[in-house]
């Protein structure tokens, strides 16, 4: 049971949220310029990594805002939550010794 940090509301139980797959996939500006494979790639193909995953969540039973989460798909550890439009965080996240969710700062 994840404990997810909504960038607007703070830490909340996973049951308040809804995941929506890989983040940072921009809709092509000119779809007609894409061939069938490139368009198919945008619509259906995903990284689905074993390890760090940048993904979208929506605080559906809360503020209803969408945001991005950087999570390890092996440990399910959430390294960071950030607002749409914010740059992708990178590891390691070192700000005052802990990261933005889950792990208490010691």
């Amino acid at each position: 049971m994840l404990l997810i940090e909504c960038p607007w509301c703070g830490q909340r139980d996973q049951t308040e949220f809804h995941p929506h797959g890989e983040a940072h996939i921009a809709r092509p500006e000119d779809p007609d310029a894409l061939d069938e494979a490139a368009w198919g790639d945008y619509v259906f193909f995903r990284k689905n990594p074993k390890g760090l995953h940048y993904e979208r969540w929506v605080h559906s039973h809360g503020c209803r805002r969408w945001f991005n989460v950087m999570r390890d798909t092996v440990t399910d550890h959430i390294h960071a939550s950030y607002k749409p439009g914010d740059p992708k965080p990178e590891l390691p996240i070192t700000a005052d010794g802990g990261d933005t969710t889950g792990t208490p700062k010691t």
């Binding site: 779809p31 440990t75 792990t103 010691t106």
Partner: protein, 1001 residues
């Protein structure tokens, strides 16, 4: 009836409260504070069950959650429960339990024939046989199924109810023994919010079963004082009778509190039977203790053989001495405590110790108490008769402990107490993805590194800290440290009192004791796993056949798969496999510990979310009127919608035919409140509409309405509806009933993640508006009678919206139509919905107004060829497939899904397309879902062209009508085809346009 094995004094039972109870229809007496197991033992009932596979007689083996044998059917009728561990069931008055998995009785069980054929039934025997003839497998299987299983399911609904609660705390302490109590105390004193959970009715853990001393007083006094102090702390919650069953990520734990189970089904009153705690803790202190490890010897499963710690528990805690002559079999010192306590309680005791030269304080004490110690010895056979052990055969071990020598000594006894050391209870730690570490010296797994998301500490016996003083100290330190981490900086460990106890020496690492024939190759069976009847021979067979990985071993032999989840057997199974492979235990590995720690009642998982509260029912403002007027309801999503309004004596068919005619020829009225409604405003609202709909929206003027189709990015229709321009940058969107939430989320997803720079605000207003739609040639007259407003086509044209009062209620009236006739959708604030509906119904009397339901709505729209998204589309249909090319703008630029139209498969000829079907027999209504075939054959398989999506008997068309999605449908118009039906018959159909009534509005 007397309790022949009850001690005269001592124990924590309440002798002032005798309780009558029933086991296998025989009455017995026990006391408050007993478990069913202790009460049965007090009464000399040793044979309490039959084993899973061989139906061997079995007795009480433990005194706790690890019990593999003593499973009973508790209570009868609706209150019955299978597979309850007698060691965990607290005794209450008139408790009624029965043995299970036996027939006709536990003493004379016909299933014992399995035992006679046991040599034919080694691990995995079923994979090797029952294959010939193939047709008989299902017959064999019936017998296998009947022989398997244990207790019986209740056959009536549960008479009890269950509670569920959420809790958040700084520190959760699991286990209320000495370490857990100290942890709770240290954390509690800081003011931290603490929850202490323990599965027993009383806190104290092992201290309640022993005779320890803390400070200068019996440990139980320290327990009482500590619990009293904890009870006085405002932020501390004490949860006795509460088993923490699951440890999930981010310190989320599930605990089951047995609130009133100990009162029995008749003493429960209004109290819930159980309560599920869902706890999110900042820190978790695991003080889960240890489970005694058995020694595995020849015929070690007989009734009258139990764990040494359990014997101690029965003597000290329950004042039951379950044997007069007791043999204690051990490879370590801890069992000497049981021997001493039993001796002290009046039993004749002998010790069989596998160690070559046991020594130390406890051994000395035993010898000086007059207890004979048989050194370097093992039990090699058990004399079992009449429901209990009568004696054992003891032989000298040879030097490596793998064989025996000399002549067997026969010892008379009626109880054997066994100890092979202790196994830390690491289940929760492992569930939480912690890594286990093997301690070579202690011969056990202990917690290693914790998973990153599950922060906390482990203290006491669960990390192989055996001495009481260490447990007390570790608990105190961890409690303080946990509180400190969560922000309570005054934290310091509670003082650790002195707890003197005799030192214990090392054990002999020998758990599988030899007998007169090689283990697994003779009549005497070594059960390493009592619950599922798995023997050492089975493990050897598994190894021989290549099932060497732990998980293969577990699955092939079913070790650890019983209701006890292998609490006493897993470690011995591992050590046998390690031995066979010549490897160390950690190299063999350990199986995954899966939740729950002990079985968790379904009812408790469900809590109150059952029956009326199972899933929400959404009702419109007009629902009371519908109920009063006899509506039959249809579930549409969460909504209850009137399906039809039958009059006295009418069938559904009659009612729908009447409603359809009335709505076409006079005026009909339907509650359309459930349609999804979204208020959209903002500078970029129009841009949004242009992206999510296929048609162009730029020209839509305020007060005008337009129909739109919504596609996903694959180009497939997923919703439709009418959107109205309410004013500048302000729109009112409607969606299908079932699609409302999906569309709302869809808009938000795009707006927030793709176009966050656009200024658009979407608000769901589905529940804010109640909608009554009136339709038919007399709809305008009806509305005119309640509204002072010009309603003719010029003043109020089709596809427009005006605001004016109807029956005095402010309303938005939309002149849009899903029936193809003149229709008005009257939206009022939800709280006026019923008033408006009633006003229309009253005024409608003069117009023969007919309320109708969803089925009539479906027929009326089908008559005009209007689609229902989700019925005539299924996520594989483009607007072109629907023949709706007109709604796809070629000029406006991009929109969601457009690019996908050009893909090879989407752009190809001959896709499935929406057409009408007319049956040759106009009275025959095609079943929805039936398929058009070409060519028609005598019997399947047949080539399917597509399926009927909608099909009705239309009184207005005077015949049956149907819509279908069929391959290359547009080109087939005029063709005659066949529909093959489930009963093997077929119907001839002609392909047409999907419009069955022409003309008007």
């Amino acid at each position: 009836m007397s309790q022949p094995y009850r001690l005269d004094t001592g124990g924590r039972i309440n002798r002032a409260k005798p309780l009558r109870f029933w086991y296998d229809n025989q009455g017995y007496d026990g006391f408050e504070g007993d478990t069913l197991a202790s009460a049965l033992l007090a009464n000399g009932v040793f044979l309490v069950g039959r084993s899973f596979k061989y139906h061997r007689p079995r007795g009480v083996y433990s005194a706790g959650a690890e019990e593999p044998n003593a499973l009973v059917q508790l209570e009868t009728g609706a209150a019955t429960e299978p597979n309850r561990r007698a060691t965990e069931v607290e005794l209450y008055g008139e408790l009624n339990a029965a043995s299970q998995n036996c027939w006709p009785s536990v003493k004379y069980d016909l299933g014992v024939v399995n035992s006679w054929f046991s040599r034919l039934l080694p691990a995995g025997f079923y994979y090797k046989t029952f294959m010939w003839p193939a047709s008989l497998w299902t017959t064999y299987e019936k017998f296998i199924r009947r022989a398997a299983g244990l207790g019986r399911s209740p056959m009536e609904p549960d008479p009890d109810h269950y509670d569920k609660t959420h809790a958040h705390c700084d520190v959760l302490v699991v286990g209320g023994g000495p370490a857990g109590l100290q942890a709770a105390l240290s954390a509690g004193r800081t003011g931290a919010r603490v929850i202490l959970a323990d599965d027993k009715p009383e806190f104290g853990g092992a201290l309640l079963s022993g005779r320890d001393v803390i400070g200068d007083a019996p440990a139980t006094e320290w327990v009482e004082a500590t619990v009293a102090e904890l009870q006085g702390m405002r932020e501390v919650t004490l949860l006795p009778r509460t088993t923490v069953t699951g440890y999930y990520d981010y310190n989320f734990l599930v605990a089951n509190e047995r609130v009133s189970e100990h009162l029995g089904p008749r003493g429960r009153g209004e109290a819930p039977k159980e309560r599920l705690w869902k706890i999110r803790a900042k820190q978790v202190v695991l003080a889960t203790g240890a489970i005694e490890r058995p020694l595995v010897f020849a015929d070690n499963d007989r009734p009258g053989i139990m764990l040494a710690g359990a014997l101690r528990s029965y003597v000290n805690r329950y004042a039951v001495l379950p044997g007069r002559r007791i043999v204690v079999l051990t490879n370590n010192d801890s069992a000497y405590l049981a021997a001493l306590d039993a001796k002290d309680a009046g039993a004749a005791v002998e010790i069989v110790d596998t160690r070559t030269a046991p020594a130390g304080e406890l051994v000395d004490r035993a010898r000086s108490a007059g207890i004979p110690v048989h050194e370097n010895s093992a039990i090699t056979g058990v004399n079992y008769r009449g429901g209990r052990v009568r004696g054992v055969e003891v032989m000298q071990l040879d030097s490596d402990g793998r064989g025996v020598r000399g002549v067997g000594d026969k010892l008379n006894c009626d109880l054997v107490a066994v100890s092979g050391g202790w196994t830390p209870t690491v289940h929760l730690f492992s569930q939480a993805k912690g890594k286990l570490r093997y301690l070579d010296d202690e011969h056990c797994f202990v917690p290693g590194e914790r998973a990153i998301n599950n922060r906390g500490f482990e203290v006491g016996a669960c990390r192989a800290s055996w001495s009481l003083e260490t447990c007390l100290r570790e608990g105190a330190e961890a409690g303080a440290a946990a509180a400190l981490v969560t922000g309570f900086d005054r934290a310091e460990p509670a003082p650790s009192p002195a707890a003197p106890e005799p030192a214990q020496g090392p054990l002999r690492p020998l758990w599988i004791l030899p007998t007169v024939h090689p283990v697994g190759r003779g009549p005497r069976k070594h059960f390493h796993e009592l619950h599922n009847d798995s023997t050492v021979g089975d493990i050897e067979l598994a190894a021989r056949e290549g099932f060497v990985s732990v998980e293969h071993l577990k699955r092939y032999t079913t070790t650890g798969m019983g209701t006890d989840q292998g609490k006493t057997s897993n470690i011995n199974a591992l050590s046998v496999m390690a031995d066979l492979q010549g490897a160390a235990i950690p190299a063999v590995g350990t199986t995954t510990f899966r939740p729950p720690y002990t079985p968790l009642t379904f009812g408790s998982i469900v809590g109150h979310d059952r029956r009326e509260l199972f899933l929400q029912k959404r009702k419109t403002a007009m629902h009371p009127w519908h109920e009063k007027h006899g509506a039959v309801f249809e579930d549409v999503g969460d909504w209850k919608r009137p399906y039809y309004f039958p009059r006295a004596g009418e069938t559904m068919h009659d009612a729908v035919q009447r409603e359809c005619l009335a709505a076409r020829t006079g005026v009909g009225m339907i509650d359309a409140s459930t349609l999804g409604k979204i208020d959209i405003r903002g500078r970029d609202a129009l841009k949004l509409l242009n992206m999510v709909y296929t048609n162009a929206w730029d020209s839509l003027k305020p007060g005008r309405c337009r129909y739109g189709l919504m596609l996903n990015e694959h180009g497939m229709v997923f919703d439709d509806g009418v959107t109205t321009c309410l004013g500048e940058n302000h729109y009112h969107m409607t969606t299908t009933t079932g699609g409302a939430a999906r569309v709302m989320n869809w808009l938000e997803e795009w707006l927030q993640t793709e176009w966050p720079h656009w200024e658009v605000y979407c608000t769901s207003v589905t529940e804010q508006w109640a909608v009554t739609t009136i339709t038919g040639p007399r709809a305008r007259d009806l509305l005119a009678s309640l509204a002072d407003q010009p309603l003719d086509d010029d003043a109020f044209p089709f596809m427009s919206m005006q605001e004016f009062p109807v029956a005095g209620i402010p309303a938005r009236v939309f002149r849009i139509s899903f029936t193809g006739d003149t229709a008005f959708e009257i939206n009022v604030k939800a709280r006026y919905g019923l008033a408006l509906w009633e006003a229309l119904a009253e005024a409608g009397k003069a117009f023969d107004l007919c309320p109708y339901g969803t089925e009539t709505m479906h027929v009326l729209r089908a008559e005009k060829g209007f689609i229902i998204a989700g019925q005539d589309t299924d996520g594989t249909v483009t607007p072109m497939d629907l023949g709706m090319d007109w709604i796809v703008s070629k000029k406006k630029g991009d929109f969601i899904g457009r690019r996908s139209f050009a893909r090879t498969d989407t752009a190809r000829e001959g896709r499935k397309q929406l057409v009408g079907l007319l049956t040759e027999d106009p009275a025959f209504v095609l079943p929805e879902g039936s398929h058009v075939v070409e060519p028609l054959r005598e019997k399947p398989p047949m080539n399917m062209l597509g399926h009927v999506t909608s099909s009705y008997l239309s009184p207005n068309a005077g015949r049956s009508i149907a819509m279908a999605l069929i391959r290359d449908g547009f080109k087939r118009k005029g063709q005659t085809l066949d529909v093959s039906l489930m009963d093997g018959s077929s119907q001839r159909v002609t392909v047409t346009d999907p419009v069955f009534l022409r003309g008007e509005k």
